[in-house]
């Protein structure tokens, strides 16, 4: 059974009298341990797909099964708990809380899951070690470089040991060298067995992932799936 199953998922917005299909009958399976990129130009519906996959939003029609649980009808409270336990987010603009230091930022998800302070600290330090940020634990986000901020954000995404990590344009706000390092970090995490979904508009970035899903006009326009096609793991180009 796949970790994440989408069946005939549509998301319809109404603007004035007009109906906008941001997602149109999308079906997808994502298995545990996969490293996937979702690509598409802006307005293609890839953000909407990520929001629905990341339990920030629910679909208008269709079903989603995450880790054996049907979640298309979950309340906002249940969604919040699923996000807390099973999903980690990394954003383009890092989205760290400016008033908290690095350690407190990483502890934040655990505060909402009600983990006691001592355990929070230990787990947060372990997550920071994973991204080699343990020396900066007491720094404020404003005292860090972009790459360091993004590594802190990755540590925050990993700290509750989630089933899936979503990264929304994680290199969009970094110079190319730092971006490279962040992508390498995702590759390493993937090799360690994490399920990672990279959302980007940049085919070059998408090239690092074995599996790529291209979204256009709310539909899956193109899929490159090495496990299905039996292709080698590192194809060089996306059509």
């Amino acid at each position: 059974m796949a970790l994440l199953e989408l069946r005939n998922v549509s998301k319809i917005y109404r603007l004035g009298g007009e109906e906008i299909r941001a997602l149109d009958d999308v079906s997808l399976d994502i298995d545990e341990g996969q490293f996937i990129s979702i690509i598409g130009p802006s307005g293609s519906g890839k953000s909407t797909l990520m929001h629905i996959l990341g339990c920030l939003d629910t679909p208008s029609t269709g079903t989603i099964r995450l880790d054996g649980m049907m979640i298309q009808d979950a309340s906002s409270r249940q969604l919040a708990q699923i996000r807390n336990r099973k999903i980690g987010f990394v954003f383009q603009f890092f989205n760290l809380l400016p008033k908290l230091n690095v350690l407190q930022n990483v502890e934040l998800p655990m505060i909402y899951s009600g983990i006691p302070a001592r355990q929070r600290r230990e787990q947060a330090m372990a997550a920071l070690r994973m991204v080699e940020m343990e020396n900066r634990a007491k720094h404020r986000p404003s005292q860090l470089s972009g790459g360091q901020q993004q590594r802190t954000a990755i540590a925050r995404a990993l700290v509750n040991d989630p089933k899936i990590v979503f990264a929304d344009e994680p290199t969009g706000n970094l110079d190319s060298h730092t971006g490279e390092l962040i992508l390498q970090m995702f590759s390493r995490l993937s090799r360690e067995g994490r399920t990672i979904i990279l959302v980007t508009h940049d085919p070059e970035i998408a090239a690092v992932t074995p599996r790529r899903i291209e979204i256009r006009d709310g539909r899956v326009a193109h899929q490159l799936d090495p496990t299905l096609a039996g292709l080698n793991r590192f194809p060089t180009a996306v059509s």
């Binding site: 920030l56 919040a80 954003f91 909402y112």
Partner: protein
């Protein structure tokens, strides 16, 4: 999410905007300070009034007073006998529910002299010994009147310490208290021998001040002798008691009244009849009994009524209630204004932090969690405001008592403090409700996109 964390985050945020938070709290600070201060003033007032009340006699004391005859007896007005000794004797003999009857016949515009010194007493009254219990007098020196004094209409008197101070010198001027028992003074030019003197009556406040003065070394007087200040010192009730002169009732009657009145017809009417009821629970019945007796002695003409201290107590309580109400209203208004200030700031601070709230929601904060956090912040602001307000109120009360030291020093009560704190927490809660609801309802996607 734990409450403690929410409180900690709230405190951090307040600390982050110290000046803004202080301005926000100002309303609450003023509200709490005025609530506690007002209550303290009213409490001081209440204490003063109650002390005076006790000095005048307990709640079981009833005054029998003259009143104009009712309109249906208008034609009998000439026949109205007024309050006389007949009433006193009748009450004493036939009203078992009345434990004490004290007739008083007083002399107005009295001057008492001794040598070149003179004094106008607060009252110069002919009395029975019952007056001691009635007006709660305590004899400190000498004796009170005996039956023999009454029978012989002896020229003796008992004075308060105020009279002694004026005629013989006050202890704080002479150094040692003078006890003028056996001395002769002139009342309206007639010689009277002092046989007794009451103790010195004073309020708590006065006593403390006097003791404080005594602990200081006596200051050398410079320049001519002079009285400092115009007003009487101390409360009115205590002044009145200290400037009392009592004579035996018969002495008053024979020496001052029997040759007075209009056209030299002696005026037998008493100035006052005070009665004490045996049991305060049976006040109604006792008054009815007294009324029945007096209706007989007055031949059905109702030219008297009863004034109980109960009425006065009620008056005092009503005044205090009014003062408390108006003070509370002012405080409540400023607390509500403070609450509006908090609400305003909470809305501003949430608008500033929409993105942060989005982040918190993305990493798993539930709407309830955010709601509690915002609410806690608002409550923490109001609680801190309340704490500062309590500090301010202490200063305020200190200031007040240094401005007016003698009269009714304000007293800060625990109840007022607790009520003020509870009220400000409630204000914080209500003020935080709408901002918290707004924050909790934010859509995480929208909030994350917010610039």
């Amino acid at each position: 999410m734990h409450l403690l964390n929410a409180i900690l985050i709230g405190v951090k945020d307040i600390w982050g905007h110290k000046f803004r938070s202080l301005l926000t709290m100002l309303g609450i600070i003023l509200g709490v300070a005025s609530l506690v201060g007002m209550t303290a003033i009213v409490k001081g007032m209440e204490n003063g009034l109650k002390e005076a009340m006790i000095a005048m006699g307990g709640a079981d004391k009833v005054l029998i007073r003259d009143q104009p005859v009712p309109s249906h007896q208008e034609h009998l007005a000439e026949e109205a006998p007024g309050r006389t000794m007949v009433d006193v004797l009748a009450l004493r003999e036939s009203a078992p529910l009345i434990s004490l009857v004290s007739p008083e016949m007083s002399l107005n515009r009295v001057t008492i002299t001794r040598g070149d010194k003179s004094v106008n007493p607060s009252e110069c009254v002919g009395v029975w010994p019952a007056v001691l219990d009635m007006n709660l007098h305590t004899l400190a020196h000498g004796r009170f009147f005996t039956d023999l004094d009454e029978e012989n209409a002896s020229s003796v008197c008992v004075i308060g310490t105020g009279i002694r101070d004026e005629l013989f010198g006050a202890p704080d001027k002479t150094g040692t208290p003078i006890i003028p028992i056996g001395e002769v003074i002139q009342i309206q030019g007639q010689p009277f021998t002092i046989v007794g003197m009451f103790q010195h009556y004073e309020s708590e406040q006065e006593r403390r001040e006097r003791e404080f003065r005594q602990s200081q070394p006596l200051q050398e007087q410079t320049g001519p002798r002079r009285q400092r200040g115009w007003g009487r010192r101390g409360g009115w009730a205590f002044w009145r008691k200290n400037y009392t002169v009592y004579l035996p009732l018969n002495t008053m009657w024979i020496k001052f009244r029997s040759a007075g009145g209009t056209d030299n017809i002696p005026d037998p009417r008493l100035t006052d009849i005070d009665i004490k009821v045996a049991d305060i629970e049976q006040m109604e019945a006792a008054l009815q009994q007294a009324r029945n007796i007096l209706m007989t002695t007055h031949r059905g003409i109702e030219d008297f009524n009863f004034q109980t201290q109960e009425n006065q107590l009620e008056n005092i309580n009503r005044q205090i209630r009014n003062a408390r109400l108006s003070g509370g209203l002012i405080a409540a208004i400023s607390l509500i204004v403070g609450g509006i200030g908090i609400m305003n700031i909470m809305f501003a601070s949430i608008n500033e932090r929409i993105r942060e709230i989005g982040i918190c929601k993305a990493v798993g904060a539930t709407g309830t969690g955010i709601f509690v956090q915002v609410l806690m912040e608002s409550i923490v602001v109001s609680l801190l405001g309340a704490a500062l307000g309590l500090v301010v109120s202490f200063g305020f009360v200190q200031l007040l008592s240094s401005i007016s030291p003698t009269q009714n020093a304000p007293v800060i009560t625990h109840t007022a403090m607790i009520v003020a704190v509870i009220f400000s927490v409630a204000v914080g809660l209500v003020a935080g409700l709408f901002p918290a609801l707004k924050a909790a309802r934010l859509d995480p996607i929208e909030a994350l996109r917010y610039e």
